[in-house]
Symmetry: D2
């Protein structure tokens, strides 16, 4: 029986089961998870560990049915999931399992007040459903309503988001991909580690130039003649995650910050939509901080007049 | 009698006499030069001082004939030049004077081994004469010879340049603009301070991204989808001088460092020639680290397929 | 008549009149001020210009009575001050003049909530009077009251300070030296430029290591075995101003952030008091970003058990 | 039978077998090594992977005889070592195994021209033997000779070291700890990865301040009042490895670079010897970039007059 799990070949990790552990840093986590897998004859293909602000993450990729022609059976999956849940309880950490063919089920869009990227995503013909829009302000609720997508405001009066509420919503809507559509807050490691490689942000500069706030202003003050925007996977290093797509445009002499923003904003939406499409098609794979890409997507582009 | 010195208006400093002092940092320099100017009824418009690696530079812009309709007379100029020379001797510093209509007389091109930028400059129809080519290796001597331009190799066996020799050559050929055509050495403050705002380099990245060595490699390793090149004025801060021109191009998936270099090199030449033209036309003015530009030049461009 | 103004010799600028211009960056400022001085036969000894966040500052040091044996007369001073005020009005900038023997008249202490540095300053036998304590919270009002020093809270509910009010208070109390005694806000260029070289901060690290917030935490997380504190002049580059005094102490194995803070806080007060004393004695002079010191002060020290 | 492997308790990794893989980055390495270990009932306790300049390193800590009261038998060790060697050959990578009680067998000292640290190490009463001194110049050969320790010069005429030769020597002399006694070259990842956590350098500053070349000069130019030295484990991030010991000293006003160097050099030797002792006693353990220490060693110290 031929496997249908591997549409894009060995270049991606989509044929592996991904196990993510997030919690307090303590000994025994690696031994516990790898031991449990080996007892089930799984092969451990890769392990990554990170600590940030006291939060530990381990991401492990495994082939859980190496001797079989096909994917693990439902019973095998249930048993593994249950065993990992018990282990997680013992160790006091959060363990998640994603089997290869369970991915890309739902999309969440995170927003603040700017609407152009949200509108573009809702109008785009994506291969996955946008199930929920979450803001740290309620300004864009009407736009979500128009498209029949549930909207939640998780921010307090000053816009400070309640990330526990956010995580609950991502669970509740079975979200597999999170798109930051000009979401103007920094996600904590608690969120980033749980959705590693599955959060895409759009930043208004040609990264690695001009990370951080007010990127268009930075570009104008630096006197650049070419500016641009970047869609990238989010890591705990702000604006330094692996690059998916970029769009460049010319900065005319005398251009103001507002002029540059006006050129850039439509391209932000364009870059984010293209990045989402490439991810959802399974045509992107992160390895050692870069994205290996395939398929017919517009990863880089120059925006002529 | 109307002055013909000011084609581009108040936006540039081209209507001012520029006095540059380079040497050891000591007290008395500012007082000496400003005092000498005021005795001659000149107005001091601006003073900048910098120290780097123990070398002091003061650049002063003055209106030396503020009550006259036209420029200073030849006799006035000679007298001022002589007085400043005496002062410089007293203080043990090097003093240079450039009157507004004396500029842009000659061009020097500095090279190492790559020939594409040198060829483009020699073939371009610049408004000023390329009077000398100076290398820290002798690889490109034949190309200069073909074009009837004198070539000097100021490097030792390892390519280490003799900068005193370089400064002598720039004096001997009455050079006003220095173009770094893939010159792979860092100029010391001794040279940079004497030709502040008159040295243009081309760097193989979209600065401020990827300063330093191996910029194409850096870009590929960072996984960018858009790369480019930059021509900029040289300061003592490596690859951070004011930007003149930039060219961007798309980086296809799977592109190697060699692929990116092949796309970039013709654009390096293009950016450097355009920057030289804008400078020679007097259409560029540096203020607070940025270049104010005017005129019909291609400052930014996107290189489509 | 011999001048008594110059106890420390040519190494300091205390024998020069200092003219500070703060305002919007525009042409004509340098020409205006230097011209006005030369008409009065003053010598311009040094000029520094800076722009930050759109605020321009020029600091000019001049000898305003170079041909006289003594300082400028009261009448000459009044005339110069009045002429500069007129010029400032014309140019729309704020001009301040400090004659050499007018300095070090009064001290302001800026505070937030930590009291150890304020207490140490109020108990120290300084050569100048602490005339006012200004906070961005009112927590320390009682301490100022105990010592009979006026206290003002210029912060709003969130502690955001009203810097216009602060500048008015510094004027009203004729303040010449501002001591930041764990003032937890960043002063804007509007304040820093007006009191350049006359604001001293204490930072809880051995600068240049660990600038920015939570320096003790940074040190513990970096695993250093020696930590310390630094008193320095404040510039618009956060925690990078010229160093006055430093105190080092050992970090025992297993030390927590609280342990390190407990070791460091008494030294913060000690470093700040020593820095204030050296400044008030005229034994410090800033040149090119460093402090030249003289006199019998404890500039560096190691805190044994 | 009680194990004697664990003198310092769970805080260190000294009770684990360490497997280091260095080579080209490729898939299959993690799966291969972990699979091989699990077949032998070993527990994988920790895995770290790094890539630098195209060189891949995986360091894995395992408990290879978890069900036994004592260490693995000689036969078990031989079998595991042989199996890993076969796997390494298959994957084209270099695999090394260190069993817990095989450590700290021999010391190498790397030098250039400065002799004070080498002399101090040779005179110190270390718990392990200095088996070889390796220089990138031959200046210190006589000192090694005096102490009856073999000396090898692996540098060419310009001092460029032959690192393959260096690695051969470290193997030949069965070196477990490498001390950089003012060795003025940057070790490549090829060396650093093979001796991760077993190379100690001494740097002439209080890191993280003043990394890189000419640290004493940097300190003087920054105007610090307290300077110092640091011994640290070497990683591929220059001068950023985990800190072992530090020594601080006061910088008097007017101190020159030479003055500071004269104060610092005896402390360099002192810091390096103390760091070596703590490492050899098994009282240091690296975790997440910091060193956890125990035992009675002088990790931090202030050098009074």
């Amino acid at each position: 029986m031929p496997s249908e799990r591997q549409p894009t070949g060995a270049a991606t990790r989509d044929d592996h089961t991904e196990i993510t552990v997030v919690g307090a840093d303590r000994t025994g986590i690696v031994a516990g998870v790898t031991g449990l897998l080996f007892e089930r004859d799984a092969n451990v293909e890769d392990i990554e560990q990170t600590v940030r602000d006291g939060v530990f993450r381990m991401t492990l990729h495994a082939d859980v049915a190496p001797d079989s022609d096909g994917p693990a059976t439902d019973a095998e999956r249930e048993e593994l999931r249950a065993a990992l849940a018990v282990l997680g309880d013992d160790l006091g950490v959060d363990v998640r399992v994603r089997f290869p063919d369970e991915r890309d089920e739902g999309v969440a869009v995170l927003v603040t007040k700017e609407d152009h990227c949200l509108r573009a995503l809702l109008d785009a013909d994506l291969s996955a459903e946008i199930r929920v829009v979450v803001g740290n302000h309620d300004d864009l609720e009407a736009i979500a309503d128009e498209h029949g997508v549930p909207f939640y405001d998780v921010g307090d009066d000053s816009g400070k988001p309640d990330e526990d509420r956010l995580l609950d919503l991502l669970d509740e809507y079975d979200v597999d991909l999170v798109l930051l559509a000009r979401y103007m807050r920094i996600l904590s490691p608690d969120v980033v580690f749980r959705y590693a490689g599955r959060i895409v942000n759009v930043h208004p500069s040609l990264l690695p130039a001009f990370p951080g706030a007010q990127a268009y202003r930075q570009a104008v003050e630096a006197g650049v003649r070419v500016a641009g925007v970047t869609a990238h996977y989010v890591t705990t290093d702000l604006d330094q995650g692996p690059i998916l797509t970029q769009r460049a445009f010319e900065v005319p002499p005398e251009a103001t910050v507002e002029d540059v923003r006006a050129r850039g904003q439509p391209l932000e939406a364009d870059a984010l939509v293209a990045a989402a499409r490439a991810h959802l098609a399974g045509d992107t794979a992160v390895r050692r901080g870069n994205v290996a890409v395939s398929g017919d997507h517009e990863f880089g582009a120059l925006a002529g007049d």
